[in-house]
Amino acid sequence: MSEMRFFIDPIRCIGCKSCMQACSECATHKGKPMIHLEYMERGSSTQTVPMVCMHCENPTCAAVCPADAIKRTEDQVVQSSLKERCIGCKNCVVSCPFGVPRYYPEMDQMMKCDLCYDRTSQGLKPMCATVCPSEALFYGTLEEFQSRRKGTPINTFDFGMQEIKTRVFLVAPDGYVNLSMDVMHHLDGRFEDNAYDHLDPFSHLEAMPMSGGLL
């Protein structure tokens, strides 16, 4: 089994979608990205989270597939459904605890990240982790990650009674992370009459109390 692991470190994600653009280049899913980018809530935060298939040890998607269309390779890569077997029932879509597989009606097939099997099986890194500008996506050994990086890699997740161990690690940041990013919290005792040398367009608004910075 390969020692190489995949790490998702959302705190580093800059929301650039380079991963999605690179993933969409693959000849097997022509123009469609199999990695997805979630926004926490754009109105209040610039936090984004990239999401790939977690490549579970005991994949729920495969367990619930009535057509036995989802296979796992010897090196723990859970593949997209086999085209000839997939019946488009979407059991995998609704059962995956991470919400990863998607059903593509125009192809009548479930497709998802297969860890760039065409590349990783040849010793290359997955395309998304190769191009990721901030290394929010990282492909390497656990030792390499821990020697270089902050944060705690986690690959065991509890979903109610179900414990899932994955090949992909999610990186939990060290310390508290405030996801509310209101710039107001970082401004001075705003909107007092003498706060600006210029006209204050918000003079009718009450001053906001200061609160601490992020992290």
Partner: protein, 772 residues
């Protein structure tokens, strides 16, 4: 009169932007290509290494280039999809002439002859300087050098300038004042060694994404990150200290930080005494710049300013990074020297983990401006007004010094003079001022007044649509040469394919025009390597000394950092490039040992006194307007607004507004709003986000026509760098009226309608000539 011949709808239908999604021949498997060409991205100043996949003389995809040390395979979305500009249906494939009914295809001979005839006619009638040239720093250094020589010796005009005028000139001028040289002080690896990183006025996550990895590597080593920006941009959200300063107040923050550093004894007195001049005046200038004073101007709490100053002052090593947010001001140069004052006062420059660097916005912003297509410079970063510098270049070019014109007008000033009717003719190459310069309505009027305009470009940009003659030039991957990245590394662009149709390499076009103007003897080049060899001689002895750099070295060493001067007497006296030596290893880190590039060898403090921006808010225009970029678009969008997957990522400009201001104005998320300044108004959709100051709105600037925020920005210039003040305007925001919403929808439709263009485009269809 260089007026656009057709309606906007007709122009879009004929010349795009067409959204292009699929590579030539469809998506390929990992191995499906003929050749893999190691080259660089054609977009921003990071100049990431990339491998282009080539099949049947078309670029069909990319492979990460993990061997290039700057990015090690990393790419932003623009880099990933850059290859889609090749085989693009909008590509200009043959020369064209404007008629009343639109553009018609003509021969190269006719196009060049007509251009030359018009140049002669206008210059005979109005004087040499009445014909101007505008250039771009997407060009390689070789082409930039050639443009500089071409304008001075073939066109014989002083009025040549370039689009780097909108980018880094404030940094360049500030760096020269402080350090005597115009370059980032360090290679980017030094960022990873810093203990504190102070980022001000740059959205590195969206504008220079690979740089975020350097910052994170420093933070993994325990570095603190201080981030100053009116918006909580993606890197700012994780910063150890975030300073949301008001647009235009940068120098107040920087002055207060220096005040605290001096007050608290955090200066490096030994460094100041041994390696700098002018400290006393600067100390005096910040005497009253207390954090409390700056808090009122910037809006940042005084104790946070103190914290920033102490963190930077106390750290053993530190790096300052800035970009256009600091430089796009009428006091851009003052802002830059204020940063230099901090670096010099604390001795945080010229050693490992220390430095002060601007982040280059445009691809070859660094190399392009060093070698002579800037109105005030000659090759090697020489001063066009300095008689010795002029004499040296005149000797290299084989002309009398008097034959080299003097200092010309800057980019905006050229447009101003066109508008005033003093400049009558224009030749431009890879510059789209109608989108990228401020006050677009004024500039459109100016272009309409030209008696003649010839453009060399590969797509028909908004500006190019005004041209009388269109000459199809080359994309970056269709020629070879060098560029210089933001960290000062000279790198090699390799040719992947030949230009399609009748399109030609840019330098060949310029040589043809020079020949027809009877000035061909000054341009004896057989290829671009010949141009580089002449540039080596021309730059020797200048501050931007490339004489020790060869293409072979650049390839072998994965880039060489300039300056690389001569080390032998033979090289210093050489008349031919063959006799130059290549012994110098290059200079990744400037100023080691406290040695600066001023004649006195010292770093210079420059006292800065607080002053306001050219335009400030008032009762009529009570809100600060600032502009910038989004990650999926590049500059005026000439290239990126044609690449479908990038357009899909951010299809139209939006106005970011804080919920409190939105509430006051009765605006909801996603609603149409009209932003108005003294120059004009646009109607876009609102994005209500609490990641922006409540007294400020932000609109990105990549779009043209009625989506152009540069209709609203002003032509006020920094007195030294002549950079326009894009980052500060006073505006009013209101809910859009039904009529304004109709205009906004129409503008969106025009920007994105091309997905549904018909397969056939009538008798003037250029697409049928497209052979791939």
């Amino acid at each position: 009169m260089a007026k656009v011949p057709l309606t906007r709808e007709q122009m879009v239908e004929q010349y795009g932007p067409t959204l292009h999604y699929t590579p030539a021949g469809g998506f390929k498997t990992v191995e499906d290509y003929d050749q893999l060409i190691a080259t660089h991205c054609c977009f921003c100043g990071q100049q990431c290494g990339i491998n282009l996949k080539v099949k049947d003389n078309a670029v069909v995809g990319f492979e990460p280039r993990t061997d290039f040390p700057f990015n090690k395979g990393k790419l932003c979305p623009k880099g990933v999809k850059r290859y889609l500009q090749g085989s693009h249906p909008d590509r200009l494939l043959h020369p064209m002439k404007r008629t009343e009914k639109g553009y018609e295809r003509i021969s190269w001979d006719q196009a060049l002859e007509e251009t030359v005839r018009k140049i002669r006619e206008i210059q005979d009638k109005y004087g040499k300087d009445s014909f101007a040239m505008l250039s771009g720093v997407s060009l390689t250094t070789e082409k930039s050098y050639l443009v500089g020589k071409f304008a001075r010796l073939a066109l014989q005009t002083a009025n040549l300038d370039y689009n780097g005028r909108l980018c880094m000139v404030s940094a360049g001028a500030g760096n020269k004042k402080a350090y005597g040289i115009d370059r980032a002080s360090n290679h980017w690896e030094d960022i990873t060694k810093a203990k504190v990183i102070f980022v001000i006025g740059t959205n590195i996550a969206e504008c220079f994404p690979i740089t975020t990895d350097y910052v994170w590597r420093a933070r993994d080593n325990g570095a603190k990150l201080i981030y100053a920006d009116p918006r909580m941009v993606p890197m700012a959200r994780t910063a150890d200290l975030y300073l949301p300063l008001r647009p235009g107040s940068d120098s107040a923050l920087l002055m207060a930080m220096l005040h605290v550093i001096i007050r608290d004894g955090l200066t490096d007195e030994k460094f100041i005494a041994e390696h700098t001049t002018g400290f006393e005046e600067t100390r005096e200038a910040v005497k009253d710049a207390t954090p409390e004073w700056a808090a009122k101007i910037t809006g940042i709490p005084a104790h946070q300013i103190e914290k920033a100053a102490r963190w930077y002052g106390e750290a053993e090593t530190g790096m300052i990074l800035h970009a256009r947010g600091l430089e796009h001001h009428t006091k851009g140069v003052e802002n830059v020297v204020s940063c230099a004052n901090l670096a010099l006062a604390t001795g945080k420059i010229g050693r490992e983990g220390c430095g002060h660097s601007t982040i280059t916005g445009q691809g070859n912003g660094q190399g392009g401006r060093e070698h002579g297509h800037k109105c005030d410079q000659l090759p090697g970063n020489r001063d066009i007004t300095n008689p010795e510098h002029r004499k040296y270049i005149a000797d290299v070019w084989g002309v009398e010094e008097s034959e080299i014109p003097g200092k010309g007008l800057s980019a905006q000033e050229i447009l101003n003079e066109i508008h005033a009717g003093k400049i009558k003719g224009l030749l431009s190459i890879c510059f789209n001022p109608l989108v990228s310069l401020p006050d677009a309505n004024f500039n459109r009027e100016a272009l309409d007044k030209l008696e003649h305009y010839t453009v060399i470009d590969f797509f028909l940009s908004e500006t190019a649509q005004h041209a009388d003659i269109v000459l199809p030039g080359s994309l970056q991957e269709e020629d070879e040469g060098t560029t210089t990245s933001g960290e000062g590394r000279v790198i090699k662009i390799n040719q992947a394919i030949t230009p399609p149709g009748e399109a030609r390499k840019d330098w060949e076009i310029l040589l043809d025009i020079a020949n027809r103007l009877g000035r061909g003897k000054y341009f004896p080049y057989k290829n671009t390597r010949d141009i580089f060899e002449e540039l080596r001689i021309a730059s020797r002895g200048g501050t931007a000394d490339y004489s020790g750099i060869t293409w072979d070295r650049v390839e072998k060493e994965n880039g060489v950092f300039w300056p690389a001067p001569q080390t032998t007497e033979k090289g210093k006296a050489a008349k031919r490039s063959e006799d130059l030596d290549t012994n110098h290893p290059g200079t990744p880190r400037l100023f080691e040992g406290g040695k600066f590039y001023h004649p006195d060898g010292k770093g210079h403090f420059n006292a800065v006194h607080w002053r306001e921006s050219a335009e400030v808010v008032d009762g009529q225009y009570p809100i600060w307007l600032t502009t910038g970029r989004v990650v999926s678009q590049y500059l005026s969008g000439t290239q990126t607004r044609r690449i479908g997957p990038l357009v899909d990522q951010y299809p139209n400009p939006k106005m970011e507004i804080h919920p409190r201001l939105a509430l006051k104005l009765g605006i909801k998320d996603g609603e149409w709003v009209t932003v108005k300044t003294r120059r004009g108004q646009i109607t876009v959709k609102a994005m209500v986000v609490n990641t922006i100051r409540p007294d400020t709105v932000f609109v990105p600037y990549h779009w043209g026509g009625k989506q152009s925020i540069n209709m609203l920005t002003q032509r006020a210039l920094d007195p030294i760098s002549k950079i326009p003040e894009f980052k500060v305007s006073a505006c009013a925001v209101s809910k859009a009226t039904p009529e304004e919403i109709r205009e906004g929808e129409e503008a969106q439709h025009l920007a994105n309608k091309t997905e549904n263009l018909p397969v056939s485009y009538g008798i003037n269809d250029r697409r049928k000539d497209f052979s791939r």
